[in-house]
């Protein structure tokens, strides 16, 4: 026990007041004359003594009152044992990423987590989290051990990729809302590949003490896995030697040189096997050609036979959709034949495309049904037949895609079909400054996607634009700009479909893009993007998101979506099926999806291949991580067992007693000191 404000104890001097008044003060009596003392007895002296004795209770109360008031100001406190220890929140984070499937890692980690949960003080709050592809909070901070244990037991190994950087960021976000101290026990295989590129991302906030529990061996077991599979998502001609092939890269982690058998499985049947020599800790490529698949969606798999320490990552899934070549409608102005030639040539040259271009003049497009085409290109045709334009608008609203290229005709017609806004004054760079070049390119945009664009702006820097038509970019995404900030390529979402607007032409009069190699890549990616074939098959990593419907579409306008997971179950409720816009692919396997625009897709989902590298973090790194997070690892080894104390102020209780003493003193004093009232 102590005092939070001991200097107030100086007020104890005031205790001398009741001592003086009751015990030390000389009892002074005022002589008062009376007519006679015949009615007063000598015994009155003892009455005074009796009164003084009786007043001792009053004295005691006054003494206690002053003492309690002084104590209340001094703010006494007691140290309550284990109050602080129990007030520390206990986070139990169990790693259920894909790598935890290796050996007994997950079972060991869960066992350790259960033991830690059982060892916590009964009154300590704990919170259970699963950490795979993302941090999942399974319980609120509670003390119900049965509920916590049930939550811990319910965690199953997943297929996600753990990232300690993500873990640190999530916990820093959580600590912004609650600054209470906590102990975080992480049960993981401490995979080295889960480390963040920036170590600072992994550091826990100051109020969280990190305790690491590794369930992995110090040395990583030998593991082979399929690093990548290069296969066409769409295939129209199985005999095409360029496209009808599957190329898989086999990689070994901590492995000796060996020979492995790799098989290609299509729809559950092994159609080809290859033996491949894999160097120690190296890579090898396996090629399967031709890829003979039937029409429709084919569920394919490249598999390493023989098994290893981590058999779960020995297969890679992908889906191939075989169909007839899709037609592309190219609507152009009557006098413009060059655009169709350049665009068709680029489309044919594209390796992955399976499109047949159908070119038609704008005036002849009246009776055409756009829904029969993969997408429609409107090149320098500012005036379309109204019936066709109406059909084209309906086609876009239902999920179709249109690429509009503006040419020199825009100088005479401000209106841009389907786009919704008019063209401004065209910019004829040939007459003013010679030529404009492409200044900004969004390489994350699917039609312009490049993994590592070079210094030449991904090949776009060489393109000279002589004529461009500025447009109002409202409600559209600008993906490329000229050097004078004039938008070159814009995308607008309309209903379930999309419209791309190229503010120059596809001929070689308004720019020299068709003459550059980048044009072929641009047309290829644009065609795949607009046709949507990229979304309908192929493979995705776990935790990737699949857009199911356009974001701008009001609820109820578009149809329901449908998702069937690898187990054949529908993870979406009916309500979600009406409103959900994107879906996270949480598990490895084949997902069957029906989009809001009615198109079906089969997607093979594979775990992140970084999970296959089972090498754990070095002990130095682990020490550095735990030591830099909230306090030393040693100090936090058994936080649940330490008994800390917390000062508990007794101010309220003392004041309550003082109030009680004051009330009693008032009652007694009024009783003793009151004079008897004369009867009227």
């Amino acid at each position: 026990m102590g005092f939070l404000a001991p200097w107030f104890l100086g007020g104890l001097v005031a205790l001398g007041v009741p001592v003086f008044v009751h015990l030390l003060r000389r009892h002074v009596t005022t002589p008062r004359p009376v007519s006679s003392l015949m009615f007063f007895e000598r015994g009155t002296q003892s009455s005074t003594r009796h009164r003084r004795l009786r007043y001792l209770l009053l004295f005691a109360l006054r003494f206690a009152l002053l003492l309690l008031i002084v104590l209340a100001f001094a703010n006494p406190f007691v140290r309550r044992v284990s109050a602080d220890a129990n007030s520390r929140l206990l986070f139990i984070v169990l790693d259920n990423s894909f790598s935890m499937r290796a050996g007994t890692r997950f079972a060991d980690a869960k066992q350790q987590a259960l033991a830690t949960l059982a060892a916590k003080p009964h009154s300590q709050k704990a919170q259970i989290m699963a950490f795979g592809g993302q941090l999942e909070v399974l319980t609120q901070p509670i003390i119900d051990e049965a509920q916590l244990r049930a939550a811990l037991e319910s965690i199953q190994p997943g297929d996600g990729h753990a990232s300690f950087g993500e873990l640190g960021r999530d916990l820093r976000t959580m600590s912004e809302s609650s600054r209470s101290p906590a102990d975080l026990h992480l049960f993981s295989d401490m995979q080295h590949s889960a480390m963040a590129s920036n170590f600072a991302d992994m550091v826990m906030p100051a109020n969280i003490k990190l305790v690491l529990h590794s369930s992995a061996q110090s040395t990583a077991p030998a593991n082979w896995t399929i690093e990548s599979v290069d296969a066409p998502a769409e295939l129209s001609d199985p005999k095409d030697p360029k496209r009808s092939r599957v190329e898989a890269v086999i990689v070994g982690f901590n492995t000796p040189a060996t020979t492995k058998t790799v098989s290609l499985v299509i729809n559950g049947k092994v159609v080809a096997s290859r033996k491949v020599d894999i160097p120690a800790n190296g890579r090898a490529t396996v090629d399967f050609a031709p890829l003979d698949v039937g029409y429709g969606f084919n569920r394919c798999e490249v598999r390493i036979e023989g098994g290893d320490a981590f058999p779960s990552d020995d297969a890679s899934l992908f889906a191939v959709r075989r169909s007839d070549p899709e037609r592309v409608l190219f609507v152009h102005a009557a006098g413009d034949n060059r655009s169709a030639v350049y665009f068709g040539a680029a489309l044919d040259a594209a390796a992955h495309s399976s499109f047949v271009l159908q070119s038609v003049a704008a005036e002849q497009a009246t009776d055409l049904d756009p829904s029969r085409f993969a997408f429609v290109v409107v090149s320098d045709a500012p005036v379309l037949p109204s019936i066709f334009e109406h059909a084209l608008a309906a086609y876009v609203a239902k999920g179709g895609s249109v690429l509009i290229a503006l040419g020199t005709s825009a100088a005479h017609h401000e209106r841009i079909p389907l786009w919704g806004s008019n063209a401004r004054d065209p910019r004829d760079y040939a007459r003013s400054s010679g030529a404009a070049t492409v200044g900004q390119v969004d390489f994350s945009y699917p039609a312009l996607e490049q993994a590592e664009p070079g210094r030449d702006n991904g090949g776009w820097a060489e393109v000279k634009v002589l004529y461009a038509v500025p447009v109002d970019p409202a409600q559209s995404r600008i993906t490329a700009r000229l050097t004078d900030s004039t938008p070159l390529l814009l995308e607008k979402q309309v209903g379930e479909g999309r419209i791309l607007l190229f503010t120059s032409g596809f001929d070689n009069l308004t720019n020299d893009l068709p003459l550059h190699p980048i044009f072929v890549a641009f047309v290829d990616r644009t065609a795949r993007y607009l046709a949507g074939s990229e979304r309908l098959s192929g493979s995705r990593p776990v935790d990737a998101f699949v857009p199911l419907r356009a974001a701008a579409t009001p609820v109820g306008i578009s149809g329901n979506v449908e998702v069937i997971d690898p187990d054949g179950r529908r993870p979406l409720s009916l309500g979600e099926a009406r409103t959900i816009q994107s879906f996270r692919l949480q598990r490895a396997g084949f997902y069957q999806i029906r989009f809001a625009n009615g198109r079906d897709a089969v997607i093979g989902v594979n775990p992140d291949r970084r999970e296959s590298d089972l090498a754990p973090m070095s002990q130095d790194l682990l020490d550095l991580w735990s030591g830099s997070s909230g306090g030393g690892q040693e100090a936090a080894l058994a936080p649940s067992n330490e008994r800390q104390t917390q000062p508990l102020s007794l101010w309220w209780y003392v004041m309550l007693l003082a109030l009680l003493a004051a009330m009693t003193e008032t009652g007694l004093a009024s009783r003793y000191m009151s004079t008897l009232r004369e009867e009227p």
Binding site: S35, F40, T48
Partner: protein, 295 residues
């Protein structure tokens, strides 16, 4: 002089009828109905005329109506003798606020003198005593008697202790004619002793009235703390606490007053407790009413 003759006091007393309680030794007790009518004669009876009767008493109106001669008889009026015995001991000095008991006693005595001499035409006398007789003024109806009595009251100062025996013995030696004796005192003495001392007056045929003058603080003392009480007569000191005065003291005082009252009435005397905070006229009126009720 003027302070004794407070017109309000006199007016209050004159508004009441005084009926003499008894008629002693052939003296006619006067009945005072109203000061407006002065001396009044109360009709008693008619008696047939007999030779030798005074013709002044014949009711000639009745004779004129009936031709019968009757005498109209009245109740006789006689002069009484009032003697006030005023206690002038030290205890009469006590006061909790003006007036002192001594002053209050003076007011009562003066009022009674005035009433007796001016209205009743009675002889009035005064004996001022403590443990000795300090002043003695013989009862008389002579002119200037009232002034002498007032002067005697003025000169009466409280001192020494109370002793009823000596003044009463003196009183018995000088007063042979029966009358009304009013003893004004605070009676701090044993009631039995007081009555035994005063009783011989009653035996001589005097009408004895005890006026017990007390201060309100003597009946219901209010004390906020313990006090050292000093006896005004003996200078004895006693420390007293409020609790005692609230309980035992009051019981004792009440018992003393009640015993004195009962013993006085038992001895054929009248007793009246007068508290100094009561108005003078109220005190006298209360007494006179008491006498009237006693008849």
């Amino acid at each position: 002089m003027q302070r004794f003759l407070d017109p309000e006091v006199l007016a209050g007393i004159s508004s009441l009828d005084l009926l003499a309680k008894t008629v002693v030794d052939g003296f006619v007790a006067g009945l005072h109905r109203s000061p407006d009518f002065g001396f009044s004669q109360e009709f008693a009876e008619y008696r047939a005329y007999t030779p030798g009767d005074d013709l002044r008493h014949v009711d000639w109106n009745l004779f004129a109506r009936t031709e019968r001669c009757y005498l109209k008889r009245y109740r006789g009026e006689t002069n009484s003798q009032l003697t006030v015995l005023l206690d002038a001991s030290n205890s009469m000095q006590y006061t909790s606020g003006p007036p002192t008991k001594m002053d209050y006693a003076r007011y009562i005595a003066a009022s009674l003198f005035y009433l007796a001499i001016r209205n009743q035409r009675d002889a009035a006398g005064l004996i001022v005593f403590d443990d000795e007789v300090r002043e003695y003024i013989r009862p008389s109806t002579r002119p200037g008697q009232l002034a002498r009595l007032f002067a005697g009251l003025e000169q009466a100062e409280a001192r020494a202790r109370t002793d009823f025996a000596k003044p009463l013995e003196h009183f018995q030696n000088f007063l042979h004619r029966r009358g009304i004796a009013i003893l004004i005192s605070d009676f701090y003495e044993n009631p039995e002793t007081i009555i035994d001392t005063v009783a011989p007056l009653r035996f001589h045929g005097h009408e004895v009235v005890l006026f017990h003058v007390l201060d309100p603080q003597e009946i219901r003392p209010a004390m906020k703390g313990s006090m050292l009480l000093v006896d005004l007569e003996t200078d004895q000191r006693i420390e007293v606490v409020p609790e005692y005065t609230k309980t035992t003291y009051r019981v004792k005082v009440d018992a003393h007053i009640e015993e004195l009252r009962s013993r006085a009435l038992g001895a054929g005397m009248d007793y009246q407790l007068l508290v100094t905070n009561q108005p003078l006229d109220a005190a006298l009126r209360e007494y006179l009413t008491l006498r009237q009720a006693g008849n």
